[in-house]
């Protein structure tokens, strides 16, 4: 029953997130709003880690699996990728190089200046 109650808790937060999104019309996904709400509730100790630990572990351990159906959706856009796979790969690689460089340098620079 414990896991069920934990799952219920997460669903309430998710519902709250979706509700906020719908009523305000902001372009932030309800799931992400839910994530922020849970973070705040944890920080303010309204929810303790042990009240959601089992469901969190279960969901996070199986996170990669949950994306399988989303990826299978590619079946409907195989023609798009067929013609654009090379530029897509190029963009992924070049952009990754830039992001690692900019992020790393920024953190290192700001940390170094302080200490």
């Amino acid at each position: 029953m414990k896991v069920l109650r934990q799952f219920g808790t997460i669903l309430v937060i998710l519902l709250l997130g979706e509700g906020i999104r719908m009523s305000t019309g902001i372009s932030i996904p309800g799931t992400v709003i839910g994530m922020v709400i849970l973070f705040i509730l944890l920080m303010t100790k309204v929810i303790k880690l042990e009240n959601i630990d089992m469901i969190s572990k279960f969901l996070l351990d199986h996170l990669a699996f949950l994306f399988v159906p989303a990826g299978v959706g590619l079946i409907s856009s195989l023609d798009v990728i067929g013609s654009a796979w090379l530029p897509i790969m190029m963009i992924v690689i070049i952009s990754t190089v830039l992001v690692v460089g900019v992020t790393g340098w920024t953190v290192q620079l700001l940390k170094g200046r302080r200490s």
């Binding site: 799931t31 949950l66 856009s77 897509i88 990754t96 992020t103």
Partner: protein, 230 residues
């Protein structure tokens, strides 16, 4: 027989088996390019195309699995909460670094898409490429991207970061432990984080912490910057 395809059991079971095969191959070969998720997606697609099974039949089960992504995204707050002490220590450098990295990711996709002249719908789908799949999917939905393409590009970005990330850190002389972790996590989310853990405990924790923050930063930045694509 074909009646069996009309139950959700088919799509769920096919996904589970495909993912298990993906994990076995990935463990046996230890090749980072053979990511279990990527393998599972390919196996399911080949199976459906090979036997001429319409995607709608698969989706009966697939939608069950997809439902759990919502709660899974909410609990991403847990690893963030667990690392909060580390975040407090270098709050400003980490936050500014992740924001700079997220802007770089989005801007580079926009500029390179224009340079290579790729389709607008493809370019839009690539905008959330550096964030964790759960958040990236939602962003893609929100901005009218092809969600499945976003998922594929996100996984590819993760693999790319895991494979070339450590080499890039050396090349760019990024030697600080915190900077290394944040750089890999911001560029390549959870897949990169598994690699960052091999570099050290601080790198792994920092990379994990960056996933959630980069996700939120990108959620806010994409609608602001995507106008530049048009």
């Amino acid at each position: 027989m074909s009646g069996l395809l009309d139950t959700p059991i088919f799509g769920i079971l096919l996904s589970v088996i495909a993912f298990e095969i993906g994990i076995i191959i990935s463990k046996k070969t230890k090749n980072p390019l053979l990511n279990p998720l990527l393998l599972a997606i390919i196996i399911v697609i080949v199976f459906l195309l090979g036997f001429g099974i319409p995607k709608e039949k698969y989706d009966l089960g697939g939608s069950f699995i997809l439902f759990f992504l919502g709660p899974a995204t909410v609990v991403l707050a847990v690893p963030l909460y667990k690392q909060i002490e580390l975040l407090k220590k270098d709050f400003v450098p980490i936050l500014v670094g992740i924001s700079a990295g997220s802007v770089t990711s989005i801007m580079s996709v926009i500029l390179l898409s224009k340079l290579f002249g790729i389709d607008l719908s493809v370019a839009v789908s690539m905008l959330p490429k550096s964030v964790t799949t759960a958040i990236g999917m939602e962003i893609s939905k929100e901005i009218g991207g092809i969600v499945s393409l976003s998922v594929a590009v996100i996984v590819l970005t993760g693999i790319t970061g895991a494979v070339i990330g450590p080499g890039l850190l050396k090349l760019f002389r990024i030697s600080d432990d915190v900077a290394q972790g944040v750089a890999i996590g911001t560029a390549s989310h959870a897949v990169g984080t598994s690699k960052a853990m091999e570099l050290g405990e601080t790198q792994g924790a920092m990379s994990g912490l960056s996933i959630g923050i980069a996700g939120i930063a990108t959620v806010i930045l994409v609608p602001l910057l995507m106008g530049l694509l048009g």
